[in-house]
């Protein structure tokens, strides 16, 4: 069953157009790698899905028209976002960050601590005092406690130490294999994306240029659209 549908979505920042026709489909429990070079519109697409940026075109989540919803209502439908950068609530402790937006479901404090044991050790620390990697784990944990049906991870491993990146990818693999949550993963590391995602969608200059199973993503495509 299709969870998220984007058809010919366009969006602008003031007078400058950023998206020219994005198509994206994510099925229930599916993990999709959303790829493209810098400035191609990946984060802009995420902002339109989360209703942080007005857009045109067909946008549906679980059969409901996203265009009619404000940002918080879209999140309540079951769209969880781990935003680009480590955007926790800086003055709240780890536990308070996780509790501030928590909704009932599988992902409670104990399950988040099982996924990221480091957060349990730091549970009384304010988010601003955590390392970059810990803040990223907290950001993922906070999105999980809203118990989303679709989790969007926007550059979740960017700028992190290799060992922390590995922890994050392990967590993403756990989410993929052990929960029924759909994932939309944005990242620049192709090798890890191949392992984590079932399908890939390539974006070029604000347009979807290719979509298909991750196994069909050829070297030619990655060289053309990702430069790797």
């Amino acid at each position: 069953m299709t969870l998220l549908t984007l058809q010919n979505v366009t969006a602008t920042y003031g007078a400058s157009q950023a998206l020219f026709g994005v198509d994206l489909e994510i099925g229930e429990g599916q993990s999709v790698g959303f790829m493209g070079r810098n400035g191609m519109g990946k984060t802009t697409t995420v902002k339109t899905i989360c209703r942080m940026l007005p857009a045109r075109g067909k946008m549906q989540f679980d059969g409901q028209d996203l265009q009619r919803l404000p940002s918080h209502r879209a999140a309540r439908l079951g769209i969880g976002l781990v935003p680009e950068g480590r955007r926790c609530f800086p003055d709240l402790t780890v536990e308070e960050n996780l509790g501030a937006a928590a909704r009932r479901g599988h992902w409670d404090l104990s399950n988040v601590y099982t996924l990221f044991p480091r957060l349990k050790e730091r549970r009384r620390q304010v988010a601003a005092s955590l390392s970059g990697g810990e803040q990223q784990m907290l950001s993922i944990g906070r999105a999980l406690t809203t118990n989303p049906r679709l989790l969007i991870l926007d550059e979740a491993t960017e700028g992190l130490a290799p060992i922390v990146r590995q922890e994050i990818w392990t967590a993403i693999a756990t989410l993929k294999h052990e929960t029924g949550m759909a994932l939309l993963v944005i990242d620049k590391t192709l090798k890890e994306m191949r392992g984590a995602c079932d399908r890939a969608v390539l974006l070029e200059r604000g347009r979807t240029v290719w979509a298909g199973p991750m196994d069909d993503l050829t070297l030619e495509l990655t060289e053309t659209y990702l430069g790797v």
């Binding site: 989360c50 942080m52 404000p70 940002s71 918080h72 209502r73 999140a75 309540r76 969880g80 976002l81 935003p83 955007r87 609530f89 800086p90 003055d91 709240l92 308070e96 960050n97 509790g99 501030a100 937006a101 928590a102 909704r103 304010v126 906070r142 999105a143 809203t146």
Partner: protein
């Protein structure tokens, strides 16, 4: 126990000890002074919910303080004159019962906060401040031009209202009642700020757009906080009017809004006991410096300047350190 918890405990201890000493030393005026400080602390504790935890710089909190005062004044005025408040479509009589007056004060202030918040929260920053100020001035001039309840001269109540089991005319009993109300509100504030609502409000103050992405509506959170804040400040207004047995448009003036904000800033914005410490210091300065010079507010200005420039956490912050804002 954290340093802030120690500061809070010391403040509470002083609030109990000073009036007990005053009673022992037969200094009833000191008890009245302490009562004034406690009521101001309650008003500021209300503002602290909006300002400290919700990040809303409201320059119109005198509306709620004054409405609370007028709720008391109007109800008691009709009770003492044996005239009904309204006759049609049903009869409403006045009352001298404090619990009823408090309820009316809180409800009317909460409704006012809801209406003001619905409009003011469409904006932010300086526009929010201006809208709250504009509402304050509207209500102030309305009170001045309403002769039924005294207009500019205000409204006197001959006998303090009653509370079951207490003789509220005895200063120490009325003080105990006010302190109990303050303690209950501070306890509820502490619970509120640690509740999911309080955490979300705190998060909405820090980064409103991030709160939206986790499914919460920052405007609704702030509106709820403003309504609670208004209700608490309204309750303080009712007690203040009862303390003076008098209510006038002064309670609704923008200077009053400024004073309530000064209590919070001196004590510590977003600190649980910041409003208490701030209000007590203000009353002390007002009393002692006011005896030295009629321009005592110049000194208050210097104190405020020093705190704003050198102590961001107010007096509580300077003593207890930066730390968490709601310990």
């Amino acid at each position: 126990m954290s340093r802030e918890a120690l500061v809070n405990s010391a403040a509470l201890l002083l609030l109990v000890a000073v009036p007990v000493w005053a009673l022992w030393a037969d200094e009833p005026f000191t008890i009245t002074l302490a009562t004034r400080a406690v009521i101001f602390a309650l008003a500021a504790a209300g503002l602290n919910i909006a300002l400290g935890w919700g990040g809303m710089v409201s320059l119109g909190h005198a509306v709620y303080f004054g409405l609370g005062g007028y709720a008391m004044g109007v109800l008691a005025f009709h009770a003492q004159n044996y005239t009904p408040l309204m006759d049609w479509p049903f009869t409403i009589t006045g009352t001298k019962s404090m619990p009823v007056i408090w309820l009316v004060a809180m409800i009317s202030s909460a409704v006012a906060a809801l209406v003001i918040g619905l409009l003011a929260l469409r904006t932010s920053g300086v526009y929010f401040i201006m809208i709250t100020l504009a509402f304050g001035q509207m209500v102030f001039f309305f009170a001045i031009s309403w002769p039924t309840y005294g207009g500019e001269d205000g409204l006197s109540i001959y006998v303090r209202n009653s509370f079951p089991g207490l003789n509220t005319l005895v200063p120490i009993e009325f003080y105990g009642l006010c302190l109990s109300v303050l303690c209950v509100i501070l306890f509820l504030n502490a619970r509120l700020i640690r509740s999911p609502f309080g955490l979300a409000l705190n998060a909405a103050r820090q980064v409103p757009h991030r709160v939206e992405t986790v499914g919460m509506n920052p405007t609704r959170l702030k509106l709820s906080a403003l309504v609670i804040s208004g209700a608490v400040t309204g309750l303080a207004g009712a007690l203040f009017a009862d303390l003076n047995r008098f209510v006038s448009p002064t309670m609704l003036s923008w200077q009053m809004s400024g004073e309530i904000m000064v209590f919070v800033i001196i004590g510590g914005v977003g600190r649980l006991f910041g409003p208490v410490v701030g209000a007590c210091l203000f009353v002390l300065l007002e009393h002692f410096l006011g005896g030295v010079s009629e321009y005592w507010q110049v000194f208050l200005g210097l104190v405020l300047l020093g705190i704003v420039l050198f102590g961001h956490g107010g007096v509580v912050g300077m003593i207890a350190g930066r730390g968490r804002t709601h310990d």
